[in-house]
């Protein structure tokens, strides 16, 4: 079997038993990227020489020894570019490692390449990248989702053994669903944000995109945990997140939120998801209908809070100490104004304007403060639900992958891609998307994602549920035929 078709855990077995060397792995990965990335454009860059140097000193006795992990372009890796797919950071080289990177290195992994994304993580399709969109490996006329679209496309196309992404409103889970791979958003605070370029500080989390559930658990075990450099990180110990993987779902209570099975949900998506939850019932789980009454307000709450926080976080991109600087400016205000006008893309500017507006004097109470109160109600919906059920199951995305260009003229239609993923970020809970079937559209099979949501610190439970489902199906072994 082609090396690059292996999962991370399969590869690690070969590395540990010395059937293959870390350098051979890096070379195989690089060949695969050369072969398919001209079509997929998952990568913004990758440095073969640097990866080979890391590979030559890799220690395969470590948990992730010799495993290349591909990195979304907004996570700092020392000496690598960290551009957030933006012109305003096009030349920026990170001077330090993010905590997740330090931990991966300590476990023997090799941070590899820079994966394409929507600029500053704002988008659901990678069409907001300043360097062109990535394509969905299942149909290259369609988007891979976003903002971690490059991460999902790379994993689905065997251009990465595993990838890191970030999720603020669904940016790991939605592209995972559209590309047919696994994507996990940890509980807020579970994984350090030190070294993650901030979009919305109360919503952002780094998480894995992988070919199967076991790989996601392996990565989580390494990257999760308290970090002194992130004062929002949780002090709860990380009890071997993968320890309970094989426990099964007998007696597990799965809630189906009625507000998520609505008009606008693609009928093939609904069918695949309902079949999947019935399958879980067949494995021993109990299904209960539940209600998350404030679901209809999640989008509105998010599109006040996230842009507001973004407007503050992106104020640092001012052309003074790093990044793009407009030439020959006429005074300080002109320097700022033209640097940011020329350096930022349209969606980023739109959200900064929206965020600045809802925080401005006279509007703060009406918008931002009110949204933060509704957020409390959304969180309470989940807390109440988790009194009755162990996990919640629902679609990840209301539709399969949409075509490039289909939603770019209508921001609101793009925002609606995330209606099922946003609430988990608002509430701070954990969630995973796993493949559960296909929709036939445009004559091609397009992946459908099943989303499993868990309560705070519930990663073990959602992984256990996902693993049981995955191992009794074949979806995770189905691969796209690229370039068709």
């Amino acid at each position: 079997m082609e090396i690059t078709a292996l999962t991370a855990h399969e590869l690690l077995n070969l590395l540990r038993s010395r059937q293959i060397s870390p350098e051979e792995v890096v070379r195989a990965l690089s060949r695969r990227i050369e072969e398919v990335d001209p079509l997929i454009h998952a990568y913004l860059s990758h440095d073969l020489d640097r990866a080979l140097a890391d590979a030559s000193s890799a220690d395969v006795s470590l948990p992730l020894g010799g495993l290349p992990i591909s990195i979304k372009d907004l996570i700092s890796v020392k000496g690598h570019p960290c551009g957030c797919a933006s012109k305003i950071l096009e030349s920026y080289i990170a001077p330090y490692d993010a905590t997740v990177i330090s931990r991966l290195r300590a476990a023997g992994a090799i941070p590899f390449g820079r994966l394409n994304m929507d600029e500053f993580a704002m988008g659901s399709s990678t069409e907001n990248s300043a360097f062109g969109p990535s394509k969905n490996p299942w149909d290259i006329t369609r988007t891979p989702g976003g903002s971690s679209g490059g991460s999902a496309a790379a994993v689905a196309a065997d251009e990465a053994f595993a990838a890191l992404g970030s999720d603020t409103g669904g940016s790991i889970r939605q592209p995972a669903a559209l590309c047919g791979c696994v994507g996990l958003k940890p509980t807020y605070g579970r994984v350090s944000r030190y070294g993650l370029v901030a979009f919305a500080s109360s919503l952002d989390q780094i998480g894995p995109l992988t070919k199967d559930v076991e790989d996601a658990a392996l990565v989580m075990d390494i990257i999760a945990g308290l970090d002194a450099n992130d004062s929002t990180s949780l002090s709860e110990p990380v009890p071997g997140i993968s320890a309970n993987l094989r426990k099964g779902v007998k007696g597990l209570k799965i809630g189906l939120p009625k507000e998520y099975f609505i008009e606008g949900l693609d009928p093939e998506v609904e069918k695949a998801v309902r079949t999947a939850v019935e399958h879980l019932e067949g494995l021993g789980a109990d299904l209960l209908e539940i209600s998350l009454p404030h679901t209809e307000y999640a989008l509105s709450t998010y599109y006040i809070i996230a842009p507001a926080e973004a407007s503050a976080n992106l104020a640092r991109f001012d052309g003074v100490r790093y990044g793009y600087r407009a030439s020959e400016s006429d005074g300080l205000i002109d320097h700022y104004g033209r640097t940011r006008e020329e350096g930022f893309g349209a969606e980023v500017k739109r959200r900064i304007i929206l965020g600045t507006y809802v925080l401005s004097s006279g509007y703060y109470d009406a918008y931002y403060l009110r949204a933060q109160k509704v957020r409390t109600l959304i969180r309470k919906d989940f807390a109440d639900a988790f009194q009755k059920v162990d996990v919640i199951a629902c679609p990840t995305s209301p539709t399969p992958a949409f075509r490039l260009g289909e939603r770019t003229n209508d921001p609101l239609s793009m925002y609606l891609a995330d209606i099922f993923t946003l609430a988990a970020n608002m509430a701070g809970i954990c969630g995973i998307s796993i493949p559960c079937g296909f929709a036939e559209q445009g004559g091609k099979p397009l992946p459908v994602g099943l989303q499993i949501l868990g309560k705070e610190l519930g990663e073990s439970t959602i992984l256990q549920t996902s693993y049981a489902y995955e191992q009794s199906t074949e979806w995770h072994k189905t691969k796209p035929t690229i370039g068709v």
Binding site: Y188, T232, G323, R325, G331, K349, R350, Y357, K373, A427
Partner: protein, 95 residues
């Protein structure tokens, strides 16, 4: 919170972004659609509800008040658009 006219030019000035006139018009109409959508939050009864800024409340995370090294000067200057003699060269701000 009614659909008050979003003064894009004024807000852009606050955000220090020099938008083109075309952008001002396009963003105004696009963002007014978004603001009309978010207006539905007015329907929610939020009396007696506390605002939530952190999903898993943590307070007073301190470290020991001991000096420790920060980023070294060379690394800090490495990405500077313009630097000389160990300093960032910037737009003149003082007349």
């Amino acid at each position: 919170m009614s659909s008050t006219k979003l003064e894009v030019e004024y807000v852009a000035e606050l955000a220090r972004i020099k938008l083109t006139p075309e952008e001002v018009n396009i963003f105004r109409s696009q963002l007014e659609i978004v603001l009309r959508h978010v207006d539905r939050l007015n329907q929610v009864d939020v009396s007696n509800v506390e605002p939530m800024a952190h999903s898993f409340p943590i307070y007073n995370v301190f470290r020991k008040d001991e000096p420790r090294p920060g980023l070294d000067k060379e690394s800090a200057l490495a990405n500077a658009p313009c630097q000389a003699q160990g300093l960032f060269i910037v737009t003149k701000v003082v007349e």
